[in-house]
């Protein structure tokens, strides 16, 4: 049960007092509960002094850099606390800071001062003094008394000293046995106190040092809303593209065929020579229309992908590419249809772009499964410099991938070829 966070086992554990006593998590919490008071005092004194000095000196400007330094230091201390608390109490405390701005002095100042996490850090560090004092007191008294009583025979045996309890003189080992027993009994509440304090401290740390869950959820909701909107737009754009392809392609071709046939019919008797030419033209036009519809249908959804999966579909795609494309697909079980489809179209778009713009002479397609994620990589040896232009095919696919929490990355430095990596989760 080592992987379970402590708060799920606290305060009583699964196997009663004995379980608590043998659980390493109990003993891992003890050093921090005892030593934390030194940190608590240190933070408190340091912060009170540094803050009051800097705030006083703000009037002559020196205070501002000092204050900034102080903030940086306390954020550093908070990072240390996250690690200590995480290790000691088995709670994962995620770093809540906003991403650092790329440039700009004021942007950096705002980043430090406006992030609520900065001030929650300060709150935690100041609160650590009373909290750690209480923890220290409880643990020292509880564990100290229990262990002291339990170990009472040791001084008697070693140096012949004796101790007096409730007016009883205990100077021999047999007399000390009940005392040992008492120590053992008292150890139980002491250990529970340790577990309780560890749980309490972990909760406080998560609350003040961790990520604000409400904001996390709100951010997630925003992200989902945006990805849904992009997904809907991508689907709409796709439908318009299909309509357009049909209208400009096959429909016009068939119209031209009908026109040829109509003219041929009219000329059949008067001008059979021209009529024959028109029939030939209509024949050719029909075949071209069939080819166009076939390509269009494959562009909407390739039948082979449904029938035989990614390996077959990507191999067929590679075979139609103008340059050499090596395909390796390492997937034992077929992923969901949406994953297969997005993976297929990302590769199709990538190969299409490669043929059009990159001047590459060969390309590599690799698809593999990493646990619950399908990873697709397409790389070529072309000129690079590709990017996901908004409204472009690749951007549309990135939007589609985003609807299932997938990520499309394009790495294409000029002169070094293009690498596209797509991660598609199999459940969302």
């Amino acid at each position: 049960m080592g992987g379970l966070p402590l708060r799920e086992r606290v305060p009583f554990g699964r196997w009663g007092p004995l379980g608590v006593a043998v659980d390493p998590a109990t003993w891992r919490a003890v050093p921090y509960l005892l030593g934390g008071v030194a940190l608590g005092v240190g933070y408190f004194v340091g912060l009170v002094v540094a803050i009051s000095v800097s705030v006083t000196l703000v009037v002559i400007w020196v205070g501002l850099p000092m204050l900034v330094l102080t903030i940086l230091l306390w954020r550093g201390a908070a990072m240390l606390e996250r690690r200590l608390v995480g290790w000691s109490f088995g709670v994962a405390v995620l770093s809540p800071y906003r991403p650092r701005p790329e440039r700009g002095f004021w942007a950096h100042l705002g980043w430090l001062f406006q992030d609520p996490a900065t001030w929650r850090d300060l709150g935690y560090l100041l609160l650590l003094l009373p909290l750690s004092l209480a923890e220290f007191t409880v643990v020292v008294m509880g564990l100290g008394l229990a262990l002291g009583l339990f170990l009472s025979p040791v001084p008697i045996v070693l140096s012949g000293e004796w101790l007096e309890l409730w007016g009883l003189r205990i100077d021999t080992v047999p007399k000390a046995l009940p005392v040992m027993l008492l120590g053992l009994v008292l150890l139980v509440p002491a250990l529970y106190a340790v577990r309780g304090l560890a749980w309490l401290h972990g909760a406080v740390a998560r609350l003040l040092l961790g990520v604000d869950e409400t904001r996390l959820l709100a951010a997630r909701a925003d992200q989902l809303r945006a990805s849904r909107a992009r997904g809907v737009d991508a689907a709409e754009a796709e439908r318009r593209r299909i309509e357009r392809d049909l209208h400009d392609g096959a429909q016009q071709r068939l119209l031209a065929v009908a026109l040829d046939l109509g003219r041929a019919q009219a000329k059949l008797d008067a001008d059979p020579e021209t009529a024959r030419d028109l029939l030939a033209s209509a024949h050719a036009g029909t075949k071209a229309a069939i080819a166009e519809i076939r390509d269009l249908a494959r562009g909407i959804y390739p039948a082979i992908l449904t029938d035989r999966g990614l390996d077959a579909a990507l191999s067929s795609l590679a075979a139609r590419a103008p340059v050499r494309v090596d395909v390796t697909v390492e997937i034992a079980d077929r992923p969901p249809a949406a994953v297969e489809s997005i993976a297929y179209f990302v590769v199709a778009e990538a190969l299409n772009n490669m043929a059009k713009h990159s001047g590459a002479s060969q390309a590599l397609v690799r698809v593999r499964r990493e646990e619950e994620t399908v990873v697709v990589e397409v790389s070529d040896n072309g000129v690079g410099g590709a990017g996901a232009v908004p409204g472009g095919g690749l951007a549309g696919l990135a939007d589609r991938a985003a609807t299932i929490d997938g990520v499309v990355q394009v790495h294409s430095p000029p002169g070094e070829g293009t690498r596209i990596r797509v991660e598609l989760p199999c459940s969302w």
Binding site: R244, H247, L255, A258, L259, G262, R263, Q265, A266
Partner: protein, 214 residues
Amino acid sequence: MRVVIAEDSVLLREGLTRLLADGGVTTVAAVGDGPALVAAVAEHEPDLAVVDVRMPPSHTDEGLRAALAVRAARPGFPILVLSQYVEERYATELIGGDASAVGYLLKERVADVAEFLDAVRRVAAGGTVIDPDVVVQLLGRRRVPTERLTGREREVLGLMAEGRSNAAVAARLVISEGAVEKHISAIFLKLGLEPTPDDHRRVLAVLAFLGHPA
């Protein structure tokens, strides 16, 4: 006869040009978008313009808007609009207040060479040509009052809405012109329309009746 063609598909532009040539119609200009149509009409002063609804750059109703612009600048200029889809809205917009010298046909009608050439000539001569599918759509919308018509009267109404003359209706239905006239009077009476001798004013009345539900 001299015409201007506005059609963005090169394939069809060529086909149309040849088809019209077969019928003795000269194509003086073949253009691929709306503004070019307006310019070509101004430049060549043709007898008729054949216009595709959907053209670049917007690929929506570019051609229809260009046709309306041409008609606004030259009232009564004959225009035959070809559309990939049956849209009664397009037809009513195009006809507006004046049904003379206007045609609205589905694109595939060009395959019926003789009929298409006939439509071209009728529009150029100031007549009205409305695609049968549009008429069906319009008739379908006004089910209640047309239910009072007999089957034959409904057929006559449809052909009338397509812009056919009495003679053409008579020929199509294989009845005498006198019989057609009798049917038409009955229809006008039942629908409460003013009888009018003029072909395209009659079309307008019928279309207005069909196009605007009571």
